[in-house]
Amino acid sequence: MNFAGLAIALPFVAAALLGLVGKPRQGAIGNAVASLALFGLTLAVFWGHSEGLVAVDPLAALFGTVAGFVGLTAALVNIGYVSADAVRMPARRWRLYHTLFQIVLGASLLGLYADNIGVLWAAMEGGTIAMTLGVSLYRTPTGLEAAWKYFILGGVGIGLALFGTMLVYLAAQPALGPGFAAMSFRALSAHAAHMDGALLTLAFVFILFGYGTKAALVPLHGWLPDSYAEGPAPLTTALSGLLINVALLAILRFRHLLVANQDAMRPGPFLLSLGLASLFLAAFSFSRRRDARRFFGFSSIEQSGISAFAFGIGGPAAIFGGLLHMVLHTLLKSGLFLALIRAASLRGPAAPGNYGFSHMRGLLQANRKIGWLLAGCIFALSGLPPSGLFASEFIIISQTIQKNPYMSLPLGLGLLLCAVAILRNIGPLLFAQAPHEKPKPAGRSAWLIAAHLALVFLVAFAMPLPLVHLLSHAAEALQ
């Protein structure tokens, strides 16, 4: 059965329904139900079969499942968020919010599952517009400013990506001729060797800039930190990582075309330079951040840079590392943001502006469980064991040394600086003296967050063999 098509269609149908009817809380519950169904469908995609514009390979199915999981947990936490915050916006706006939630999910899945580069582009565009509306949802000046930034920078990125897409199509003409075949990833990667190398290289630069904007690689990252910090957190913060994954996977797939083509330039230097720039800019931007959501926005830039770096290094093992890093980081960030939402709501409404580190300091006094879980998530982000990211970063560094030893120096330095800057925040967050307060209940979301952490740990260190095979085959195919 074509579960992939169903999985893509479901969120858009749900979006339409949620946009038309329901009070905020009902909408949130409906949203959660839809997300649950969607998660089931993304799991089913592994056993489904699909062809045409949407043709799913195991890698896409894996990331689709991850997206489904993240969407589900965000939707679950969203119920509490909406219930606590319902008076902040009129009911109509909440409907729009849930619609956007589903559209972002649907766009991510469409982008992941799409075999057609045009459909991929359209999915990215839809996701961008939906996110922009989400960021400006609260209509605060800062929210509007962030949305405007997102829109201008994202729009330019989308334009460049379209140009790149067309160039790829053009480059494929000698091999595939006019028609749909020249826009299908499968056909393209099968015939990459016969494509026009020079044109393909040019196309890749535009693709890199277009989708790199969505993946928030420096210097294309300008929209990300602000947009993470604005809007309802479950949508603009927890879900937005999914679009980053779509963009990174797209870059990886296009990169493969270049590698497979003899005449094209090597994509390594482009990816390495952008990846390192992301790593270092993030490293030095961390230390003055006072807003946690913005802080972790920069962390997303860093992680995205690491994956891009891994793709730039190339070779099956490095790409394996990069893909693993993406999976782990997505899961971890999702857990982190859920913990962050919970932590902020321990001290008042979880609205933008209430995510300052100073607002959350001394969390252990408010709730031990949430405090330790949030600290655990932040710690895991640093990549020190027993965090799962350690495994992927280890693979990437070791591959870097074998492939391009001198690149390991800046990579190590960047990782070092980032990790230290991330760890620095844990101390005050946990142990600082907080205003005297009564401990508050952790709620059920503590289990969700713990599940994320456990999943990250297990996927990294006790990865089931089928998953190992899936990832390594995908990495081999895309090397």
């Binding site: 334009g159 067309m166 807003d291």
Partner: protein, 219 residues
């Protein structure tokens, strides 16, 4: 060289000229007029390609381009100019001469980049591609050298024209009409955004307004 190619070249050349002339304008009204011309020629180019390639899709694209870009959007833009009283010359970030030299350099780069490609069996020649790339880059440049929000939007629109120009030249490319619609949605959001957000003068002012307050609150 057949008539198909030479006419397509001619139309492309006019679009490039319009895009380049936009760089040299200080007043919004003139820029909008140039944009309108650009859109008209683009619509003509779409029709011509549709005729040459026998593609219904391209006719559709031409109609959309004409109706929305050559008529509706310029009207909306002019409305904004009048309503927000932006008839005077806009502030430039770079001296006019410098931005024009940069524009020329960009065209040079576009040609340099496209030059090594070999497009033997493709109807779109490298000149066409170079023109499209130049229009895209000039649009981006326009967004950077003007401090006025509307001028930047015009730059964005011009860049998007370059994209459509490239798209209609692609032989048998699917989704061309869909692409242009999708892009138009983006554009519509931009223009509506200007209306809603009441961005009068600068992106810069929008950025800086209340920045100190935000800084204090902690970012």
């Amino acid at each position: 060289m057949s008539l198909t190619f030479s006419l397509a070249h001619l139309l492309g050349g006019i679009i490039l000229l319009c895009a380049f002339l936009q760089l040299s304008q200080r007043r919004l009204a003139a820029m909008i007029t140039l944009y309108q011309m650009e859109a008209l020629v683009l619509a003509a180019a779409a029709f011509w390609q549709g005729f040459a390639q026998h593609e219904i899709n391209l006719y559709l694209t031409g109609i959309i381009t004409f109706a929305l870009k050559a008529v509706l959007l310029p009207w909306g833009l002019r409305e904004i100019v009048l309503r927000f009283n932006m008839v005077r010359a806009v502030e430039t970030a770079l001296p006019m001469a410098v931005s024009m030299i940069l524009g020329l350099a960009l065209i040079g780069i576009a040609v340099l980049v496209v030059l090594p490609t070999t497009m033997s069996s493709i109807s779109l020649t490298r000149e066409d591609l170079a023109i499209a790339l130049s229009v895209v880059l000039l649009g981006l440049l326009l967004m950077i050298v003007r401090r006025n929000a509307l001028a930047q939007i015009i730059g964005f629109l011009s860049m998007e024209n370059g994209l459509v120009l490239a798209a209609i030249g692609m032989p048998g490319m699917p989704f061309v009409a869909e692409f242009s619609v999708a892009l138009l949605v983006l554009l519509a959001f931009l223009v509506v955004g200007v209306f809603l957000l009441r961005i009068r003068e600068h992106f810069d002012t929008l950025d800086l307004s209340g920045l100190e307050k935000i800084e204090r609150r902690g970012r």
